[in-house]
């Protein structure tokens, strides 16, 4: 089953490699991993999307907790949560027909067009992974020049929070 693990760790050199190394050394799946500093500059927040049996997820959780740099962590997919991913798609717009169609699809998916040239659009979209997949499925695949996705981030709903 798919799990989203959020963790706070000391914002130190090599912290990311400890997490990435743990996943590769122990053969755990890693679907995506995002990391950035928090409002407290001494802490980084990481979101890891992984999958595995309950036993494996339990081990992943324990092994992450064992890393000396990890301050706290939570499996936010265990409860109500919001998950978001950012995607930017560069598409080619050879004629007005494609321009109109891509603009229409972008509006339907509540995306935005960030950049326009004679031949291209850059479309920005946020949502959970399946919404982004659906958008890519909905537009003409021939028009896609490149896509870039941030990987999932997430936060628990309500009073539950990951903080120290």
């Amino acid at each position: 089953m798919r799990h989203i693990i959020s963790l706070l760790m000391e914002n130190e050199a090599g912290a990311l490699s400890r997490v990435a190394g743990l996943f590769s050394a122990r053969g755990y799946n890693i679907e995506s991993l995002t990391v950035a500093p928090t409002e407290d500059a001494s802490l980084s927040r990481m979101t890891i999307v992984t999958s595995g049996s309950d036993e494996i997820i339990e081990q992943i959780f324990k092994q992450l907790n064992k890393l000396v740099d990890v301050v706290t962590l939570a499996d936010i997919s265990e409860g109500n949560h919001i998950e978001r991913e950012l995607m930017m798609v560069k598409v080619s717009t050879p004629s007005d027909k494609e321009r109109a169609e891509l603009k229409r699809m972008t509006d339907i998916f509540r995306g935005r067009i960030l950049d326009v040239t004679d031949e291209t659009y850059i479309i920005e979209l946020t949502g959970n992974g399946s919404k982004l997949d659906a958008f890519l499925g909905a537009i003409d695949a021939q028009l896609i020049i490149e896509t870039v996705r941030s990987g999932a981030t997430g936060v628990a709903r309500g009073n539950r929070a990951l903080r120290i």
Binding site: E10, A13, G14, R18, G21, A25, Q59, K66, V68, D69
Partner: protein
């Protein structure tokens, strides 16, 4: 006080109470070596290879419980230390390894003797640090010792670039003392609810079994374990790493379990209905096939590391905490409980165990004209009064030592259990002998293992460390040969050691005493003579039976009840 970075390193080690640093100098650590030169409080032991430094520090740590400290240079100094670091990591041994690094401005430039020591060691350390500013040295070193010695212990690497130790830049230093780390707070006391759930199960067991490991030794919980086991009257088995925490000569002790464990220990594991696992980690060499592991048992697992619990085998009652604290609480609970183990059921269980015991699974041919390795170990036990520190390398001789030298005290049996590092025994013995100069220290080894760190014979002479090397020389990598005999139709592919050195001459050339023993009748005399030479390292080369195998044996992937006993036992 104002000190240079190099002086801070040395002053810190003094403040931390470090007695010995095992090391080897090189470019990146020369400032630190210069600071060491000006004092005599921290004694430096110069090894002949960095692997030897890590094993010697490791042996010191295992024997004393204090952290072992290593100082090596950058590049090859650090990479040579990796095997020893990984060895300590697998067995949870507290160590701090200081590696030199090229100056910060050269990091990443493929400078001379540059290697990413933090990156290379990351998977085999408890934690590691790169110190880029001299101001951070004191705190970082204190954190390193704190992390290495608390919780589940382990090795910690501190990588120090050369400019950080510049003798010309003096900065303020004060010993940091106790240090808080918000991201590292190991659990000590277990949850009382977990303990009462466990006690309920323990006291209602019909066929109980206690299975203990190296965690008991690391936690210094031997006295608590003895009290616990004796009060309950339950049978106990110990892993290779746990030997000595509970006295092996006690009647409640069924011997070691696992791949080369005793018949009675493995059968009792297979048949028990409640398993009390204490500071053991359900290693594959212990469990055999996990699907067939303790099929009828409900399992209680006490360990300080939550990630050890339910890693290989699902447990019913997990208890996270320091074993010494947990057993103290449990002993109180036993005293306070009205419920007592059912004496009648327990008696039936012991009758069953005694029947297994009567197989005498460790019997071997005592009438052989050749020296049997088991016989040498038995005589070693006799001659040393069972009171020696015994280090070993890895292979058949290690198993024979574990089976035939009953350890009655913890920290006496010192071997590389998890990583299985050949070459460990001799340098480890040097570390032990330094810690206990007046004690008997034996290194049980084989002619293959000893050659992996033999250069440390030179270190032994320099510091006059009178270790007794017991070389069980069967001219084979014995354990490899045994597996090839059993599983590869006796195709002995590259396991025979042609062109062995003359170990007697070799020992002599290093300035030690060498002996060759070829007759069973000479074994005892040689050992007595060797141990009588209290100030000399004696290398005893015992020419043993080439074809002897270690029994009992559970083949990889088999269950505890599927042991092979020795050929004569199975015919009987």
């Amino acid at each position: 006080m104002k000190l240079s970075g190099a002086e801070i390193v040395v002053q810190f080690l003094k403040d931390e109470g470090v007695e010995y640093v095992f090391g080897y100098p090189g470019g990146a650590v020369l400032h630190i070596y210069d600071a060491l030169f000006n004092q005599d409080k921290v004694k430096h032991i110069l090894v002949r290879h960095e692997q030897g430094a890590t094993h010697a520090a490791d042996g010191y740590a295992r024997a004393t419980g204090k952290p072992g400290v290593v100082l090596v240079t950058s590049g090859p100094g650090a990479t040579n230390a990796v095997t020893g670091i990984a060895t300590a990591y697998m067995d949870s041994i507290p160590m701090v390894i200081i590696t030199g690094q090229v100056a910060t401005q050269f990091i990443g430039s493929d400078a001379f003797q540059e290697v990413d020591a933090v990156g290379i060691t990351r998977p085999c350390v408890k934690h590691n640090f790169l110190v880029k500013h001299a101001e951070d040295l004191g705190d970082t070193l204190r954190k390193a010792f704190h992390v290495a010695t608390t919780g589940r212990p382990g090795p910690v690497v501190v990588d120090i670039p050369k400019d950080t130790t510049d003798p010309n830049i003096k900065i303020d230093y004060a010993y940091p003392g106790e240090i808080e780390m918000r991201s590292y707070q190991p659990v000590v006391k277990a949850h009382p609810g977990e303990i009462s759930r466990a006690m309920e199960l323990i006291l209602s067991a019909r066929r109980p079994m206690i299975y203990t490991g190296g965690g008991v030794v690391l936690s210094n919980a031997d006295a608590e374990l003895i009290e616990f086991t004796r009060k309950l009257g339950y049978p106990i088995t110990q892993t290779l790493m746990g030997l000595g925490a509970y006295p092996a000569s006690d009647k409640q002790h069924l011997g070691m379990l696992g791949m080369h464990g005793t018949y009675e220990a493995n059968m009792a594991m297979h048949e028990c209905d409640v398993l009390i696992a204490i500071g053991a980690r359900f290693d594959d060499r212990v469990t055999g096939d996990v699907k067939q592991f303790c099929p009828d048992a409900r399992i209680i697992h006490i360990d300080i590391d939550p990630s050890s619990i339910s890693k290989n085998v699902r447990v019913d009652v997990p208890i996270v905490g320091d074993i010494k604290h947990v057993l103290t609480d449990m002993n109180k609970a036993i005293k306070a409980s009205k419920k007592k183990p059912d004496a009648k059921l327990l008696d039936q269980w012991w009758q069953q165990i005694d029947a297994w015991r009567s197989k005498n699974c460790l019997r071997y041919d005592r009438n052989s004209a050749l020296i049997k390795p088991q016989f040498v170990i038995e005589k070693l036990h006799e001659v040393t009064g069972g009171d020696a520190y015994v280090t070993s390398d890895v292979g058949q001789h290690q198993m024979f030592a574990a089976q035939f030298y009953p350890f009655d005290k913890p920290r006496r049996w010192i071997n590389s259990g998890g990583l299985g590092t050949m070459g460990f025994g001799l340098p480890a013995a040097l570390g032990v002998q330094l810690a206990y100069p007046d004690s008997q220290v034996a290194c049980v080894t084989g002619e293959a293992s000893i050659q992996m760190c033999m250069q440390e014979l030179s270190t032994a002479l320099q510091y006059m460390l009178p270790v007794k090397v017991v070389n069980l020389n069967n001219r084979y990598m014995g354990m490899v040969r045994q597996w090839q005999e059993f599983f590869y139709d006796s195709r002995y592919s590259h396991s025979y050691l042609d062109a062995l050195p003359d170990f007697v001459k070799l020992a002599e050339s290093y300035g030690h005493v060498g002996m060759r023993i070829e007759q069973p009748g000479d074994v005892e005399g040689a050992l007595k003579e060797a141990f009588a030479m209290k100030d000399r390292l004696v290398f005893m080369d015992f020419i043993t039976d080439q074809t002897e195998n270690v029994y009992p044996m559970i083949a990889a992937g088999k269950g505890h009840h599927e042991m092979h006993l020795s050929p004569e036992r199975e015919l009987a």
